[in-house]
């Protein structure tokens, strides 16, 4: 996101249990957040002085991780990497980087991949990846939103997904646009009644998982009204829509054409209009189609586009890897790396600034871990991945390292370290530098200079996927599936407070101590239980125990649970998206059973 905050010396050592802890203050000059911080931003200080911070490198010996010196850990890592290259070839090693790295660290990771001569380097960005790749995959070239001020001055806005949960600090400029200028249009496309949807006028409440159909309808209406729009891709798009009429698409999305028309007209007619897409739309199906169609819509209507990823430096890491040419032609994506590890083709995995075990939460990483001969992880706090790792390297957190990140508007923001990392923890830049120094020129003399062309998703593949998806929907609009209710993932209130990192913070633990399943009052009556009852949720792929929360906002036939909790992610269906070759989530039908007992 690139939100800025101030850390001042002289904080409250008694609360945080650390001498010399800084105090958090709000940077009113912050370009993105304008001084305000979301719940997660307010917790940043706690990450820096968390009692569980990893402070020394550790190496697993006989099922136990023991602390070692940096030299010993890095020498061991070098030896084992070279042994894997020697025994199984460089393609047996994969590198996964996360959204917590700086741009410079992502580029160093690319240098490490070149030195090892492997093309298997990819980012683990979960939903952000599809969001950021969509426009390029569809070949769209919309104008970009460059600052929050631009949003505040827009007279027609379309929000796709729950922007106010992903990026609460954007709310002030969106609401300025809504309230300060009369006759403004703030439309929200979302299947569920999220905190963003409350403000939507109109709120386009499409069928869960059919956001892409709703956007295709908007796009078709815009193309009908503007014959010259989208001349580059107009023909191929209309062909991909398979001669679907606006009524067909409206039926698929469960929307009225008359309700959607004013939005298309406003986006076309208003001089300052914008489309903002966040990765938190309820359906969680074909994310890459949603962001691609939103980009095409923005281009066709002359609107400005803003893609709002949820990872801190998701955009910076995504673009740094693309610029370096990764994943290389023939190289594996994150999902494919775990698949290859599960089948034994990939032997070594280096994970930098990410917790793919928690982020993906499918059974795949766990199967993969059993077959891997080397799993090395850099992390500031212990997580699901570090538990399975052979080598754990303690990493510096945000305010402890320098470098640059790309904020939500694509600007480079320089990080200013506020305090040194705890113990022997080091930044990923230092770790990668030290490892590269040990590897020298790498196993192959020609390896260091290899450069691959930037990876590009062929646009026809995206259009082909759109055509296949629509054809499948039109043939069988309702997928017969066992299970009584549709499980729709949702982001929790304090901005992903149950993410792999933020789950450790005291405020989310205090405010949201249990994993909750949101059900409608009628559903709770049917089950014969009240608020706080323990229930078991079963899908085809797994089960999870949660506490019941009766929520009037939840519609009949639907249950909701936090999308970022690993247990909930384990319930969802995972498939490898053919366009991005990355994991894609789909909503599933679940059965809810009363498990007995109550927490009061």
């Amino acid at each position: 996101m690139g939100c800025s905050l101030l850390l001042r010396p002289g904080g409250d050592a008694a609360f945080f249990g650390a001498d010399g802890a800084p105090a958090l203050d709000y940077d009113a000059a912050g370009a993105v957040n304008g001084g305000s911080l979301c719940a997660k931003g307010n917790m940043v200080l706690e990450l820096l002085i968390h009692p569980q911070r990893l402070e020394a490198p550790a190496v697993r010996r006989a099922d136990e991780c023991r602390p070692v010196a940096w030299d010993a850990a890095l020498d061991l890592l070098r030896e084992r990497l070279l042994a894997l290259v020697r025994d199984h070839g460089p393609e047996s090693i994969g590198i996964v980087v996360g959204p917590h790295l700086t741009v410079e660290e992502a580029r160093l990771a690319a240098r490490l991949a070149r030195t090892l001569c492997t093309g298997n380097l990819d980012a683990c960005l979960a939903e952000d990846r599809a969001l950021l790749s969509g426009p390029e995959a569809a070949g769209a070239l919309p104008a970009a939103v460059r600052s929050p001020r631009e949003i505040a001055e827009m007279t027609a806005l379309l929000l796709v997904g729950d922007l106010f949960t992903v990026a609460p600090c954007m709310a002030k400029c969106v609401l300025d646009a809504r309230y300060e200028r009369r006759q403004n249009l703030l439309s929200v496309l979302d299947a569920t009644r999220t905190r963003t949807a409350w403000f939507g006028r109109p709120w386009l409440r499409c069928r869960p998982g059919r956001e892409a159909a709703a956007l295709a309808l908007l796009l078709l209406l815009a193309l009908e009204r503007s014959p010259e729009a989208g001349s580059r891709w107009r023909a191929v798009l209309l062909d991909s829509l398979g001669r679907a009429s606006t009524q067909d698409l409206a039926d698929l999305a469960a929307l009225e054409v008359a309700a959607v028309e004013p939005v298309a007209s406003a986006l076309l007619g208003e001089k300052r209009s914008g489309v903002i897409v966040s990765p938190a739309f309820a359906g969680r199906e074909r994310d890459v189609l949603v962001s691609g169609l939103a980009a095409l819509l923005a281009e066709a209507t002359g609107s400005h586009l803003l893609l709002m990823p949820s990872g801190p430096n998701a955009r910076g890491v995504h673009e740094a890897l693309a610029a370096e040419g990764f994943p290389a032609p023939g190289g594996l994506t994150t999902a494919e790396m775990f698949e290859a590890a599960a089948t034994g083709e990939l032997k070594g995995l280096l994970v930098l600034g990410s917790d793919p075990f928690a982020a993906l939460a499918s059974a795949l990483p766990r199967v993969a871990a059993l077959n891997l001969r080397l799993l090395a992880v850099t992390a500031p706090l212990p997580g699901e991945t570090t538990l399975a790792a052979d080598v754990v390297l303690p990493a510096a957190a945000w305010a402890e390292k320098d470098g640059s990140v790309q904020n939500a508007f694509g600007e480079d923001v320089e990080l200013v370290p506020a305090l040194p990392p705890p113990g022997a923890a080091r930044s990923e830049a230092w770790i990668l530098d030290a490892l590269l120094a040990r590897l020298g020129t790498g196993p192959g003399p020609a390896a260091a200079g290899i450069s691959w062309p930037a990876p590009r998703v062929p646009a026809d593949l995206w259009f082909e996927e759109l055509r296949a998806w629509l054809r499948r929907l039109r043939r069988a609009p309702v997928v017969p599936e066992a299970g009584s209710h549709l499980l729709l993932p949702r982001l929790l209130a304090p901005h992903a407070a149950d993410g792999w990192l933020t789950r450790r913070f005291s405020w989310p633990r205090h405010e949201f101590p249990h994993l909750q399943l949101w059900v409608s009052p009628a559903h709770a009556r049917d089950l014969g239980v009240a608020e706080g009852a323990r229930v078991t949720v079963r899908s085809r792929d797994g089960s999870a125990r949660m506490l019941l929360h009766v929520e009037p906002r939840v519609t009949e036939g639907v249950v909701q649970a936090s999308s970022s909790h690993p247990e909930v992610r384990g319930l969802l269906r995972w498939r490898i998206d053919p366009v991005l070759r990355d994991l894609d989530l789909s909503p599933v039908r679940v059965n809810v059973e009363v498990a007995g007992g109550s927490d009061g």
Binding site: S36, L37, P168, K172, L175, Y179, W198, W507, R553
Partner: protein, 162 residues
């Protein structure tokens, strides 16, 4: 000092998105104790409810230990040392802004972040508000212009759709 007592935290219902960043900021600034009550409106929205710092505080009158008191600047404060967590203040508060507390036995009570206010800053919840829904305004302004907090309430989407 005089400026601090004349200002109060006011919530613009039309702008609050229920992100609860105010609660997190309060938690960080008050030793892990959140002094803000997340209030539910019509069962569909969660909005922060702040202490009004009443002129004649019922909570202070109800406190058997004298832990709640109105300081010379008019801010109603609580002494951590004296509070025994008996919840008398929770029962007495006419606005329901003092939640029950069962763990630490110290009732959560908004202190208006006086140390920040006296330094010329605004309370933490106001500083962090992501939607600019919370403001720290002169008391007479809030009282003299009731339309400030109620002018757009008719347009509040959540109330219409509840």
């Amino acid at each position: 000092m005089a400026d601090a007592v004349k200002r109060r935290i006011v919530l613009d219902l039309d702008r609050c998105i229920g992100c609860r960043a105010c609660g997190a900021a309060c938690h960080v600034g008050h030793h892990g104790q959140t002094n803000l009550v997340p209030g539910r409106i019509a069962g569909v929205a969660i909005l922060p409810i702040h202490c009004r710092h009443c002129e004649h505080p019922a909570c202070a009158a109800a406190c058997p230990r004298g832990a709640l008191y109105q300081d010379e600047s008019g801010v109603v404060r609580r002494s951590d040392l004296l509070c025994i967590g008996c919840r008398s203040c929770s029962l007495a508060c006419p606005f329901g802004v003092i939640p029950d507390e069962f763990v630490r036995h110290v009732s959560p009570k908004c202190d208006l972040c006086v140390e920040r206010v006296l330094a010329g800053d605004v309370p933490r919840c106001v500083a962090t508000c992501t939607a600019r829904a919370l403001s720290f305004v002169e008391l007479k302004t809030a009282a003299g212009e009731p339309e400030y907090v109620g002018g757009r309430i008719q347009s509040r989407a959540i109330l219409r759709r509840a």
